[in-house]
C-alpha cells in the first residue's frame, strides 16, 4: 500500500471511529432517558381486536371477534388456547395480531380463552375441559354462526385438548383441526419429565396442600428450561432500550410470558399422572371420563405446525401426531422459530400465518 492510500485508510478509520463513538454516546443518553420512561409507562395495549364475550363459565371464556371482511368463509374457526397462558398472544397489537390476520383474510373467528380457576374450582377435571367446556363452546359457535361445521385450532396444550375432544367426538362437528406445537410423547419433554419424576414429585401432596397449581410454580418450571435466558434478555433490553420497536416487542412478549395462569388442581393431577407419568396419549391408553380418546379416531383434515427450535415442546415430543391420527388428509410443517415465535411476532407473520391461510382457506367452504 502506498503512502497516500494508507493515509486515506487511516483517515476513514478515524472518521468511522468518531462516528461510532458519537452514536454510542447518543445511545447512552437515550438509554438513560428511555430507561426512566420504561419504568414510568405501561406497555402497549394487547388483545384489543374488537370482540364480544359469548359465554363465561368456570374457567371458560368464549369470544367472538367481529368480522372485518366483506365476505367470510362458510366454516367458522374456534381457537382453543393453552390452559397455562392467556389468549392475547394471538392478538398482540395491530399488524402483529394473528386474529386480525384471520379476520382480514375472511375467517369468522371465535376463541376459547381461559381464566384462572378460583380456589373452589380446584376440583375441575380433565372431563370438564374435554367433555364440557369445549363441546359447549362448539355448540355456541354453531348457534352463533348458524353453521354446523367448525374448524378448530389448538395451541400447545390447547392442541392436546382439541385432539382429545376430536378423538372422542369423532362423528363431528369438527371439520378441520390445526395443532400448533402439540406434544404427544411426553417422555420427550425431558426436563419436565425429570421435574415430575414420580419417585420424588408427590403431586397429590402438592395439590392437596395448595388446591390449584400456583402460576409461580408453572412459570418457574418454564423458566428453568432456559435458566440464563431471563437475565440475558434483560441485558439485551438495556442494550436496545433506545430502540422503541425493540422495547415494544420485549414488553409484549415479556408481559405475556409472565402472565401465567394457575391450573385447576384435579386437572393438573390428571396431566401429571396420565400424560407425564404414564404417557397415555402416546401409548394409546388415554381416556377422559371413561371414554377412550384414541388418536386414530381423529379423521378430519389435520395440519400440525411445529417449531424447529422449540425448547418447551421439542420436535421429538410432537412428531408422532401425524403418524398416529386416522386422517388421510394430513400435513406437518416444520418452521423456523421457537415455541412462541412460531405463532406470534415477525417470524410468524412471514411463515406460519400465510401457510395456515392457504391450508385452511381451501377447507373452509
Amino acid at each position: 500500500m502506498n503512502a497516500p492510500s494508507m493515509n486515506a485508510a487511516l483517515g476513514n478509520d478515524a472518521a468511522s471511529l468518531a462516528e461510532r463513538i458519537q452514536s454510542e454516546v447518543q445511545r447512552a443518553i437515550q438509554r438513560s432517558i428511555k430507561g426512566v420512561e420504561y419504568f414510568s409507562t405501561s406497555g402497549p395495549a394487547l388483545g384489543s381486536t374488537p370482540k364480544d364475550v359469548l359465554a363465561s363459565r368456570g374457567t371458560m371464556q368464549l369470544y367472538h371477534y367481529r368480522p372485518v371482511a366483506d365476505e367470510i368463509y362458510r366454516v367458522p374457526v374456534l381457537i382453543v388456547m393453552a390452559t397455562t397462558n392467556r389468549g392475547y398472544i394471538l392478538d398482540l397489537v395491530p399488524g402483529q395480531s394473528f386474529i386480525e390476520f384471520l379476520l382480514k383474510r375472511g375467517y369468522d373467528v371465535y376463541m376459547l380463552d381461559w381464566t384462572a380457576p378460583k380456589p373452589e374450582e380446584k376440583s375441575l377435571r380433565m372431563e370438564d375441559y374435554v367433555l364440557d367446556f369445549i363441546p359447549d363452546c362448539v355448540r355456541r359457535v354453531q348457534q352463533d354462526s348458524g353453521e354446523t361445521d367448525v374448524s378448530v385450532i389448538g395451541y400447545c396444550f390447547g392442541g392436546v385438548l382439541s385432539l382429545l375432544y376430536g378423538s372422542i367426538f369423532h362423528d363431528g362437528p369438527m371439520k378441520n383441526l390445526i395443532c400448533f406445537t402439540t406434544p404427544i410423547d411426553f417422555r420427550e419433554m425431558k426436563l419436565f419429565s425429570n421435574f415430575a419424576d414420580r419417585r420424588y414429585f408427590d403431586v397429590d401432596r402438592l395439590i392437596d396442600s395448595v388446591g390449584n397449581m400456583p402460576p409461580e410454580l408453572i412459570l418457574s418450571s418454564f423458566e428453568m428450561l432456559r435458566p440464563a435466558s431471563r437475565a440475558a434478555s434483560q441485558v439485551q433490553l438495556w442494550d436496545n432500550i433506545w430502540n422503541d420497536e425493540f422495547v415494544k416487542s420485549y414488553r409484549m412478549f415479556d408481559r405475556w410470558a409472565t402472565d401465567t395462569l394457575p391450573l385447576a388442581g384435579d386437572y393438573f393431577r390428571t396431566i401429571t399422572k396420565d400424560l407425564m407419568w404414564d404417557n397415555k396419549l402416546y401409548n394409546d391408553a388415554m381416556s377422559v371420563g371413561g371414554r377412550a380418546a384414541k388418536l386414530e379416531n381423529v379423521k378430519v383434515p389435520l395440519l400440525h405446525a411445529v417449531a424447529e427450535h422449540d425448547h418447551i415442546v421439542p420436535y421429538e415430543a410432537a412428531r408422532h401426531l401425524i403418524a398416529r391420527v386416522g386422517s388421510t388428509d394430513k400435513e406437518e410443517v416444520i418452521l423456523k422459530g421457537g415455541h412462541v415465535s412460531l405463532v406470534a411476532g415477525a417470524n410468524a407473520i412471514k411463515r406460519l400465518w400465510p401457510k395456515l391461510d392457504s391450508w385452511l382457506g381451501q377447507r373452509s367452504t
Binding site: V53, F195, D197, Y200, L206, A228, A232, Q236
Partner: protein
Amino acid sequence: MADKGNDPAVIWQTMIGELEKGFNSFANHAMGTPEFSRLMNQAGGVATGAQKQLGELMEKYLVSMNLPSRSQLVGMAERLQSIEGQLNEIKALLGQINRDAGNAESAAAGKPRPPRTKRPPAEKAQK
C-alpha cells in the same frame, strides 16, 4: 464503517449470546439428573408447606383486625364476575334474538354480519 468483527458492541452481544447458550446447556444437563429432581421436589415441598401455613396465619390475623381477608375479596370478585358473565350471556342472547327476528343489524357488533360466500383465492383464480 469499522469491521464488525472488531466492533465492541457486536463482540459484547456475541459474548452474551454464547454465555447464555453455554449456561443453559450446562444447567439443562445438571437438571436432567434424578438427583436434581429429588432435591428440587424436597425443597419445593418444604416451601409450599411453609407458604400454606403463613397464608392461614395471615387470614386469622386479618379476621382479628376486622379487615377483609384475601378469600373474602376473592369471593366479592367472584360475585362481580358472575354478574358480568350473566350480562354477557344476556347480551349474546339479545344479539341472537335480533338476528333470528331477521333484523339486518347485529345487536352486538352494530353492523350486519358478512355473507359466508368467500372462496379461497386459488379457486377464484380458476374461475
